[in-house]
């Protein structure tokens, strides 16, 4: 009986422990318990994964901070060693849009006009036309003020590996356009869906390996909506109308749908 009560007390503290919202002595006790209890460890891991989503979506950390970190790393491999990595700031990769190239150009231009030396930014265009640089800065400044989602969608639309899918319905007459990347990242970019009352929502479903899996809530009057699915076994999309908050499994006919022939 006492063991069961004690374990319940540990379980009660798991949420607060995941948020670092416990006293130091409680933290130590919880750590010891979690190390031994797989049930609590699994629940804690689940809480921590959810908590990580509460964190900021700030996308990039500054280059000069990386330099400071790199300076603290002892005995790192040098350029002369086989298989070595060069000590330069992590370059953006994985995106093929012009946005990435222009962002790198902005870094180079800012470095040219900055009073502090940024050793890790390559100054490849020292002799470039100043007027070209200034127009580049103006364009990039405008880009940087744009919402990240718009920029991500633009990148997806211009990516040759992106798959554009048109969901439709002869019954509703509505359409929706989805861009799906090879890694499973996707965006509902356009649609002609009728706005719903505030207590209703559209919900996106993906058909994967014969199963219908929720890909996210779109809202009652969706704008551009990002989502992510497992691309392996992907065979189609459907959008249904549901009650606010969505459902785990729909019993409604799709408003629009698309199946991979």
């Amino acid at each position: 009986m006492s063991i069961k009560v004690d374990h319940q007390k540990f379980q009660e503290l798991l949420g607060a422990y995941a948020l670092h919202a416990v006293e130091d002595d409680e933290s130590l006790i919880m750590q010891l318990h979690v190390d031994e209890c797989s049930e609590c460890r699994d629940e804690l891991d689940q809480h921590l994964d959810v908590v990580s989503l509460l964190s900021s979506t700030e996308r990039f950390a500054p280059t000069d901070l990386w330099e400071t970190i790199a300076d603290e790393i002892p005995d790192a491999r040098t350029l002369n060693e086989p298989g070595a990595f060069r000590r330069h700031p992590p370059a953006a990769s994985g995106l093929k849009s012009s946005w990435v190239v222009r962002a790198a150009a902005l870094a180079a231009v800012l470095a040219m006009f900055s009073t502090s030396v940024i050793q890790t930014v390559r100054l490849n265009n020292v002799n470039a036309d100043l007027a070209v640089e200034q127009s580049t800065v103006a364009a990039l400044t405008e880009d940087l003020q744009r919402p990240p989602l718009d920029m991500a969608v633009e990148a997806a639309l211009s990516d040759s590996e992106g798959q554009r899918v048109i969901l439709g319905s002869q019954v509703s007459g509505s359409n929706a356009i989805i861009v799906l990347m090879s890694d499973g990242t996707g965006y509902v970019v356009e649609h002609t869906l009728q706005p719903l009352p505030a207590d209703r929502t559209y919900q996106l479903w993906a058909i994967i390996d014969g199963k219908i899996i929720s890909a996210g809530i779109l809202g009652s009057n969706p704008g551009v909506v990002p989502f992510r699915i497992d691309p392996d076994g992907f065979a189609g999309f459907a959008i249904t109308e549901e009650s606010l908050g969505g459902v785990e499994a729909s019993t409604n006919d799709p408003v629009v749908a698309w199946l991979d022939a």
Partner: protein
């Protein structure tokens, strides 16, 4: 795809353990932004926040074996360390001045302004929506604990609510968030 990302995390940390600085640079590229954003939000001091980022990244370099790829993503691991270190700073004697200023901001009446600040954060829309679907008491408890850096006992005092209720609200709130984010296709697979 989540499995692929998890495998990449494990491979990167393996390369870090082998002494490849480029692998650490890649970790910084992938996760430095959210780590810095969280530290800045908690500490409200960009310089302190950068110090925390340094500590977290260097801790990974010095102790890569602490990351267990079977127990969650590298990002959640780094963010948990960031949050913990930031909370340590907030609660430490050396940061007493910071805490006094923050407590003044985070009084019960200002609990509402904290809520506004949370909404103003660069949260993903679906995360923001999921937070909004929680009961007010549950959401306040989570916000005061996570973003305010308060222990559950302090939250109970701030909200004039029993400690047991606060513990329960935090735990059930996180479980509800997991359900809501899973529906939105956002909750990572542990």
């Amino acid at each position: 795809m989540e499995t692929t990302a998890r495998q990449e995390d494990i491979e990167l940390v393996g390369q870090i353990a082998a002494g490849h600085e480029g692998a650490l640079a890649e970790v910084y590229r992938r996760h430095g932004g959210p780590v810095l954003g969280l530290a800045k939000r908690l500490l409200r001091d960009p310089n302190l926040a950068e110090e925390v980022v340094q500590e977290v990244i260097l801790r990974l370099w010095n102790n890569p074996e602490k990351f267990d790829g079977t127990r969650g993503s590298l990002r959640s691991f780094l963010l948990a360390h960031t949050h913990g270190r930031s909370i340590d700073l907030i609660r430490s004697e050396s940061a007493r001045r910071i805490r006094e200023e923050r407590d003044a901001q985070l009084a019960v009446e200002a609990g509402l302004s904290l809520e506004e600040e949370v909404w103003e954060m660069a949260l993903a829309d679906h995360v923001r929506q999921a937070l909004g679907e929680l009961d007010e008491g549950v959401r306040q408890a989570i916000e005061l604990a996570y973003f305010g850096g308060h222990t559950y006992r302090e939250v109970a005092e701030l909200l004039n609510t029993p400690e047991g209720t606060i513990k329960s609200r935090i735990r059930s709130g996180l479980q509800s968030l997991n359900g809501l984010l899973t529906k939105a296709g956002l909750a990572p697979v542990s």
